[in-house]
C-alpha cells in the first residue's frame, strides 16, 4: 500500500515540478510579450488545459511503444513514461493560469519598474510576486489535474504491481475485482493527500489571499 502512495507522490510530484519549471516562465512570456502567433499559442494552451488525460495517455503510449518513434527510450510501463505523460497534462494548466495571473497585474506597475531602472528579470519576478495568489492557483490546478487522473497513468504505466501501480489505477483494479472496501480506503488516502497538499499551497499564498 505504501509503495503505491510513495509512487503516486513521486510521479505526480516530479511531473508537477517539471511542468512548473517550464510552465511559469512560459506563462509569463505569454502574458508579457506580444509576438506573431500569440493568439494561436494561447488557444493551444487553452485546449491543453481541458484536454482529456486518457487521450494524452494514448498519444504518449503510441510514442513510447516498441513500434513508436520514442520506443528506444524504453519508458513505456515505467514511472519515467508516466511522468512524461503527466507533464504534458499539467504544463498547459500551469502556463495558462500563470499567464492569466500576470496579465491581471496592473500594467502600470511594469512601466514604473522599468522607469526605476529594473532589469527584465527583476520586473518579471516582481510581477510574479504580485500575482502570487494566481500563480499558486496555477500550481494547485496543475497538481489537481494529475494526481486525480487515471487514463494516462493506466495506459502508459500499465498498473504493474511494484513498478507502476499508483493510487488511481489501484482503485480501478480493486473495483473491478469487487474489493470495494480496498478501493474506498485508497480513495480516502488520495483525498487526504490532495487536502494536505492544498493546505500547504494555502499557506504559501499567505496574507496575499486576504488582500
Amino acid at each position: 500500500m505504501w509503495g503505491i502512495v510513495l509512487l503516486t507522490l513521486r510521479v505526480s510530484g516530479t511531473a508537477l515540478l517539471l511542468s512548473t519549471l517550464i510552465g511559469i516562465p512560459v506563462g509569463c512570456w505569454l502574458g508579457f510579450r506580444r509576438f506573431w502567433g500569440r493568439r494561436l499559442t494561447i488557444a493551444a494552451i487553452y485546449t491543453g488545459m481541458g484536454f482529456p488525460p486518457v487521450v494524452v495517455g494514448l498519444f504518449v503510449y503510441l510514442l513510447l511503444s516498441r513500434s513508436g518513434p520514442l520506443g528506444s527510450l524504453q519508458w513505456l510501463y515505467t514511472p519515467n513514461g508516466m511522468i512524461f505523460a503527466q507533464v504534458i497534462i499539467s504544463f498547459p494548466i500551469v502556463a495558462g493560469f500563470t499567464m492569466a495571473a500576470v496579465m491581471g497585474v496592473n500594467p502600470n506597475l511594469r512601466q514604473q519598474l522599468v522607469s526605476l531602472g529594473a532589469s527584465g528579470w527583476q520586473t518579471t519576478l516582481t510581477v510574479l510576486g504580485e500575482a502570487r495568489v494566481g500563480v499558486i492557483v496555477a500550481i494547485v490546478a496543475g497538481f489537481g489535474a494529475i494526481i486525480s487522473e487515471v487514463g494516462a497513468v493506466m495506459m502508459v504505466g500499465g498498473n504493474i504491481e511494484g513498478v507502476s501501480r499508483v493510487l488511481t489505477t489501484a482503485i480501478v483494479q480493486f473495483t473491478r475485482m469487487g474489493m470495494f472496501d480496498m478501493a474506498i480506503a485508497l480513495g480516502i488516502v488520495l483525498l487526504l493527500i490532495c487536502f494536505l497538499v492544498n493546505l500547504v499551497m494555502l499557506r504559501l499564498q499567505g496574507r496575499y489571499l486576504d488582500q
Partner: protein
C-alpha cells in the same frame, strides 16, 4: 403560425421518443467476465433472445470477482462466469440458484515466437511454467483474481512455484482484463496465459503465438447462475430463467459451437450443457 406548428411538432417528436423508450421492453442485467465479453460471443447469441422475449440484455463485463460481487449484491439478474469453485460457493451460500453448465473452452500459454524458455517442448502446463521461471523469461499475470488468474495460480502451484511480483523481476502482475493483458504482453513480447477465445479474436494484431496447449488442467468451463430472488426480490428472475433455458437449449448450443469457425478456422467455445449432451 408556422413557429407554433414547429414547436408543437418538436414536442410531439420528443413525446414519441420518450414513449418509445418507456413502454414494453424489459431489461435483463447480465454480469459476466471481460474475457467472455471480449470474445464477441454475446453479440452473437443475445439478439435472437432479445427479439424472442422483446427485451434488452444489459451486459456488464467486469472481472470475475466483481461479477460475482454484483450477483451477491443483487445488482444484476444473472451471472455468467468461469470459476467453478467460486460458482459453487455462490450457490452454497444462497446467493444464486439454478446453476447450469453452458460451455467450455481452454486456456493456452502464449509467448514470443522465439520461445526462449523453450516451453513448446514441455510435457505439461506445469512444466511449461517451470521452464519460464527457470529462464526468468518475462511472464505477465492478470493479477486480478479472475478465472484466468486463478487458473494461472493453479498451474504455478502444480509446478511447486510461487512467483512474487516485485521480488521476481520477470513476473509482472498488471491487475487488468484479458484484452489489456494481451496488449501489454505483446508490447513486452512476454509469456502469458490466455483463454483461447480472447487470444484468437486478437491474434491478427499480436506478435505472440500459442506455444503450449492441450493439458487437461487448461480446460475452462463456463457456468450460468440466476441471482436468488428470495434474497433480492427486485431481480428479474423470470427473464433470468428464460435466458438460462435459452442458452442451454440445444439450438443455442449449436450456435455456440459454430461461433468463430468461419473467422478463425476453429470454434472459440465448445457446448457443454445438459440438454446438449442429452441430444447427442
Amino acid at each position: 403560425m408556422a413557429k407554433r406548428a414547429l414547436i408543437l411538432f418538436i414536442l410531439l417528436g420528443l413525446a414519441l421518443i420518450v414513449a418509445a423508450g418507456w413502454g414494453g421492453t424489459e431489461t435483463l442485467i447480465l454480469a459476466t467476465t471481460t474475457s467472455t465479453a471480449d470474445s464477441g460471443l454475446l453479440d452473437y447469441i443475445l439478439p435472437p433472445f432479445e427479439e424472442a422475449y422483446h427485451c434488452r440484455v444489459e451486459v456488464i463485463a467486469v472481472g470475475t470477482g466483481q461479477a460475482i460481487k454484483l450477483g451477491r449484491r443483487g445488482d444484476c439478474d444473472v451471472i455468467l462466469v468461469h470459476a467453478r469453485a467460486e460458482e459453487d460457493e455462490f450457490v452454497a451460500q444462497g446467493y444464486g440458484v439454478s446453476r447450469r453448465d453452458i460451455m467450455y473452452n481452454d486456456f493456452v500459454i502464449i509467448g514470443p515466437p522465439d520461445d526462449r524458455a523453450v516451453i513448446s517442448e514441455a510435457a505439461s502446463a506445469a512444466e511449461a511454467f517451470a521452464r519460464i521461471a527457470k529462464a526468468e523469461a518475462t511472464f505477465v499475470s492478470r493479477g486480478d483474481n479472475s478465472g484466468t488468474h486463478l487458473k494461472e495460480m493453479e498451474i504455478w502451484e502444480e509446478a511447486g512455484l510461487t512467483p512474487t511480483p516485485g521480488e521476481d523481476k520477470w513476473y509482472l502482475s498488471v491487475g487488468q482484463g484479458m484484452g489489456e493483458t494481451l496488449t501489454f504482453a505483446n508490447e513486452k513480447l512476454a509469456y502469458t496465459i490466455s483463454d483461447r477465445a480472447t487470444y484468437l479474436s486478437r491474434s491478427g494484431g499480436l506478435d505472440l503465438v500459442i506455444l503450449f496447449e492441450g493439458d487437461e488442467i487448461l480446460l475452462n468451463p463456463y457456468g450460468i447462475i440466476a441471482v436468488n430472488p428470495e434474497l433480492h426480490p427486485h431481480v428479474n428472475y423470470d427473464l433470468a430463467m428464460a435466458f438460462i433455458e435459452y442458452i442451454t437449449s440445444y439450438d443455442t448450443q449449436l450456435m455456440i459451437a459454430q461461433f468463430g469457425v468461419e473467422e478463425y478456422g476453429q470454434p472459440l467455445f465448445y457446448p457443454n450443457s445438459l440438454e446438449f449432451w442429452q441430444n447427442q
